[in-house]
């Protein structure tokens, strides 16, 4: 058994440290004395470097320590993964580009052509993280006015069409959201492999859609029992439909030589937050079921970092330090590896890991944590059986 480990490419900006909420890597924040690269040289002149150079450095670092690829997130203020991936395609060798996108924003036939082209450009290194949730006012920002359950219906149809045209010419489809008459990719494009599909979403509508089309069901980290239940449910539901679903977790790590050093880093990060920042990070209205579950995990009025420890090596305050999920793993290299082993034993088939800052932590996790994996998994797997 092998497990796929992805790293994250921070298309949403990159902090130089967990203790600092400023995006001082690259040009995310206005260029100032602290974030000199990329953008301006010492004379204040444009030096030709761009944020993609920073992302490229992270991709190459992750590739060289053995990560299979990287997730490129998609939010309103991110650089778009459909652009980042081909820009970096020829500068990497084995690194897979996991493109996060909401299917409703693209015509599925056009998306299939783009994907097959990217497969040709990369030698089959394209992976999808299909997002359907989000919701609330942010969907209207994107120009999308469909309701939550309709969006899952649309995602299902999008993937019907996407896979259908990939099957070759002569494909017709008459759905509620999409219709194609006698279409299909040309043989040149259709011979590429359909990208692996990772799927997110915790609602019933999401699980139904995932059961039909997803290769991996992707979840944010939740308390381990809760996560194991969810994975078991997803796998059972898919099996009932005659399919096989793999499960994956996206999780941030703070891994250090000792547990004390890891918690000291988290504590410093927490104590660097202003009260306003803590307030703001509590989250706005959403119809994302996953986001609501995360919000429920953390006390809304924590004044000390250790009030947010929800289990050994599990800290629920990551979303205060940056956007995204609340729960992450904190510990020594051995402890981090043991927690990941435990997740494997409880049904996790793949991971998307991340750490701040992304470049240095790719090396740290890749060199110090990944090689320790599997020491506990065997015993845990036996125990599970």
């Amino acid at each position: 058994m092998t497990i796929d480990f992805y790293w994250r490419l921070p298309s949403h900006g990159c902090h130089g440290s967990l203790r600092d909420t400023a995006y001082d890597r690259g040009d995310w924040s206005p260029i100032g004395p602290r974030n000199v690269a990329p953008g301006l040289d010492r004379n204040g002149e444009d030096d030709g470097f761009r944020y993609v150079d920073h992302l490229g450095a992270i991709a190459k670092a992750a590739e060289s320590v053995g990560f299979i690829g990287g997730l490129i997130p998609s939010f309103p203020n991110t650089d778009d993964p459909w652009v980042i991936s081909p820009l970096l395609a020829r500068e990497t060798k084995a690194f897979r580009f996991m493109i996060a996108f909401q299917p409703g924003f693209l015509n599925p036939v056009h998306a299939a052509r783009m994907s097959a082209s990217l497969q040709r450009a990369t030698g089959g290194r394209t992976v999808f993280n299909i997002i359907t949730g989000g919701g609330g006012p942010s969907q209207l920002w994107w120009g999308d006015s469909f309701s939550h359950d309709d969006r899952y219906g649309r995602t299902t149809e999008f993937l019907d069409v996407f896979k259908g045209v990939w099957g070759g010419e002569g494909f017709s489809y008459d759905g509620r959201f999409y219709q194609v008459r006698d279409g299909g990719l040309s043989p040149l494009l259709a011979r590429e492999e359909i990208p692996e599909i990772w799927f997110s979403g915790s609602s019933d509508a999401a699980l139904q859609s995932a059961a039909k089309h997803a290769d991996y069901y992707l979840s944010w980290l939740e308390p381990f029992d809760q996560l194991a239940d969810k994975f078991a449910r997803v796998k059972a539901r898919t099996a009932a439909l005659g399919g096989e679903q793999k499960c994956a977790v996206r999780v941030d790590l703070v891994a250090r030589p000792t547990e004390e050093e890891a918690w000291a880093e988290v504590r410093a990060g927490f104590e660097s937050l202003s009260p306003e920042r803590r307030q703001r990070a509590r989250g706005g209205p959403t119809d994302s079921v996953g986001a609501a579950r995360q919000q429920a995990l953390r006390p809304s009025d924590a004044t000390r970092y250790d009030e947010l420890i929800v289990a050994p090596n599990l800290w629920g305050g990551f979303s205060l330090l940056r956007g995204g999920p609340a729960l992450g793993i904190v510990g020594s290299y051995e402890q981090c590896a043991a927690r990941l082993d435990e997740l494997i034993a409880r049904g996790t088939d793949a991971f998307i890991l991340a750490g701040t800052p992304h470049l240095e932590e790719a090396y740290r996790v890749g060199e110090e944590v990944l090689p320790l994996l599997g020491r506990n998994a065997g015993a845990l797997l036996q125990a599970a059986e």
Binding site: D27, W28, S29, P30, D46, G48, R50, Y51, V52, P76, N77, D79, D80, W82, V83, I84, S85, P86, L87, A89, R90, E91, G104, F105, L106, N107, P108, V109, H110, A111, R113, M114, A116, S117, L118, R120, A121, G123, P137, L140, W141, W142, G143, D144, S145, V161, Y178, Q179, V180, R181, D182, G183, G184, S186, L188, L189, R191
Partner: protein, 318 residues
Amino acid sequence: MTIQTYWQLDVAEDAGRSEPGARQSGLFRDVRPATLNRYDYYAQVAQAAAQTAFDGLFLPHRPQSDDSGIVAAAIAREVSRLKLIPEFPASAGSAVYAAKQAVSFQRQTQERLGWAITNAGESAARAREGDHVPEDELHARVDEFLTVARGVHAERPFDFAGKHFEVQGGGFQEPLNRVAFPKVFLQGESEEALALSARVADVHLFAAAPLSKLRVFVETLDALALRAGRAIEFGLIQPVLARDDAVDARRDAERAGFPDAAIVGTYADVAERLADLARAGFRHFVLAAPSSLEEAYRIGQHVLPRFRALTERVTAAA
């Protein structure tokens, strides 16, 4: 304004070239991996255009071949100077999302993207693409598409409720809004196409045609744009074939089945004919010939310097 020359990188031309599936086995030991492929050829064409001082590349939308946008991005970082103008269908999807992709490309490439939008084909061809917008609404869709794309780039909050697109509380924030929106290139010779360009295009590209016919188009569009309170730049997609001597040029043109509107002749002839077009008001020249790599070198090396020498006087007079 200065004249811009682009080389056409047509993903459907020379289709077997560098395609791993088209390799012939033979006596020689072939060590080429599958990853040495068509994209290396695209990169070579781009480098040829860069080395021979073209200003950019134009990549037409070819539904059966590689997606132009993916190709443009895949080669962008190998040619640090060239502008890249991939053509994409108006049915690509959300205008907000397309604008977001454009802005990302602009950010990472120092604003080298051009936006060429095409209304791809008659209704059966569009139905194959999952595009069922009625024929008489196609131009209105492009109009809305651009209104939304430019709107979310320039304003925040941006609201729009149209027939094809809808946005509420939209608009890009830092750092996405720090770059310029790409220049918009549209095409078409119909009355509706010209009227649309008068309203929303930055550059209108015409298909190659006799100069007398082109002059009428230019005057019509110029007048329409003036009435809309705008100025449009004019361009041309022009097949060319240039050789050391005229006999060779004619022979190679016949061999290749060049279209009637192609400019065929000696390096000096071709440069002179292009300069005539510049005198008629054209400022954007998309030059095209198969095989793209060799011809890019030839045109770039022999025709462009002559063309530039002739048009320095044209642009100075204008």
